[in-house]
């Protein structure tokens, strides 16, 4: 929640206030370093943005009014900067969340945000079984490779697709077995959730959006 608030504040900021973005980045990277996230992980997470970076880099060339600097569109450059900086800050903020929060705490967090119980329950099952099903997938891949299969061209699609079909049947049947096991233990559509120390940590979490809000406020005051 704190991370979402931070990102919304960042998106709200007018793109002309370059100083404010530098301040956001400093605050956020400070948090990341305190949390013990290594720079390598930050860089890896930023790789996700590459397609959008490519789009942003095109903007100065296709934007309106190409009479500005060096034949590039000034409006396009502002838009590119806007997208780049906001997307990068967003990715880093989400990395902070992922690096500091256990999946169980995230489920508890979603619950405390009053998400409907069924959605929280689906999340819980997802988080519990994601490793089981990925392991199953990896075993199927190893079995395929042991038979000499290598996916190199679209001709391999039917093989990969039938593996996916088998994976779906296995996942779905696992779901049926899990359901029966739950029913035999008195399941009525409700899951008990562990109470985790959310309250202790919220002041720390709130520092991030509050800090960003102060920077935005300072920017408003300065432009008056």
């Amino acid at each position: 929640m704190a991370v979402t608030a931070f990102v919304f504040i960042v998106v709200l900021t007018p793109r002309e206030w370059i100083g404010a973005f530098v301040a956001y980045a400093v605050v956020l990277i400070g948090f990341l370093l305190t949390a013990g996230v290594r720079p390598g992980r930050m860089a890896r997470s930023l790789v996700l943005e590459i397609p959008f970076v490519a789009f942003a880099l095109l903007l100065p060339f296709v934007g309106p009014d190409p009479a500005g600097f060096a034949g590039l569109s000034i409006a396009g450059m502002w838009a590119a900067w806007n997208i780049l900086i906001k997307a990068s800050l967003g990715v880093l903020a989400a990395t902070l969340l992922a690096a500091t929060t256990l999946p169980v705490d995230m489920v508890a967090g979603l619950q405390s945000l009053r998400l409907p119980t069924p959605i929280v329950a689906i999340f819980t099952f997802f988080i519990r079984y994601v490793d089981v099903v990925s392991d199953q997938y990896h075993r199927m891949r190893i079995a395929q490779e042991a038979r000499g299969f290598r996916a190199t061209s679209p001709r391999s699609w039917p093989t990969l697709a039938s593996m996916l079909g088998a994976l779906f049947v296995r996942s779905f049947e696992r779901g049926e077995r899990v359901h029966l096991a739950l029913v035999s233990r008195g399941y009525d559509g409700r899951l008990p959730t562990p109470q985790v120390g959310m309250r202790r940590s919220w002041p720390i979490a709130a520092m991030l959006p509050v800090g960003a809000a102060l920077i935005l406020l300072a920017g408003w005051v300065a432009t008056w």
């Binding site: 996700l48 999340f123 099952f125 391999s156 697709a161 079909g165 088998a166 049947v169 779905f172 559509g189």
Partner: protein, 234 residues
């Protein structure tokens, strides 16, 4: 890579009013989906939807080689709709998207509402409608697989067009709308071909072993269980 080419919208791409609007629209539709999915699956909803979400998540890890080193992966909206129905399918894809945004920083958190709307809601609904319209005219399993393929194909440009609408309402880049629409439409028609072929092949594979669990054909003669082949333990 298809998905990251142009699907997950990052933060800062859409302005705040449109981000909030898409959050609200998605939330309303998902609430409806929660109610409707209970009718489809009763108290089995949570475990089955959870495991199906894990399946879609795993399916997106598989790279389908296209040519000369490029590859793409499934998006899964139409596939989820055909396999578990539009309402559960929506919830399933939403959970996958939220996990990707929270744990892998894939797609911005402020853009999550828009991403859910495009990929979890528009793609599954369009995929479902196309599949159900088409399934009336086929009698065989392979026919159903072709119809599923068409549903998968149509779902991708449909979801791209939803993005174009959002971009028209609150895009932050000064690019002409027709340029965005043309670029998104062109790229996604190609992506849609891959999505359609794979969706069709996967549906065919599931129909061959457990047609009774495929939600999209459950009221057709195709749903009759086949004699189950022994699956070798891996």
């Amino acid at each position: 890579m298809w998905q990251s080419i142009a699907m997950h919208i990052p933060d800062g791409f859409l302005d705040v009013p449109v981000s909030l609007l898409t959050y609200v629209i998605s939330a309303v539709i998902l609430t409806l989906a929660v109610v409707k999915s209970r009718a489809d699956l009763d108290d089995r909803t949570a475990p089955l939807a959870g495991l199906t979400a894990v399946f879609i998540f795993a399916a997106q890890m598989i790279n389908f080689p296209v040519a000369s080193g490029t590859s793409g992966h499934l998006l899964g909206g139409a596939l989820a709709a055909v396999l578990v129905g539009p309402w559960v399918g929506m919830l399933v894809v939403t959970v996958v998207l939220v996990v990707q945004a929270l744990l892998f920083a894939d797609g911005g958190l402020t853009a999550l509402g828009a991403n859910v709307l495009n990929m979890a809601i528009v793609a599954t609904v369009v995929g479902w409608v196309v599949f159900r319209l088409g399934i009336r005219f086929v009698r065989s399993r392979s026919g159903a697989a072709v119809v599923a393929g068409v549903a998968g194909f149509v779902s991708v440009p449909a979801s791209a067009m939803a993005f174009v609408v959002e971009f028209a309402l609150g895009g932050t880049a000064p690019v002409s709308l027709s340029a965005v629409a043309a670029a998104m439409g062109g790229v996604h028609l190609l992506i849609g071909i891959g999505e359609g072929v794979i969706t069709g092949l996967v549906v065919a594979a599931v129909l061959a072993s457990r047609p009774d669990i495929v939600f999209g054909v459950r009221d057709t003669p195709l749903a009759k269980p086949v004699a189950r082949p022994e699956v070798a333990a891996v």
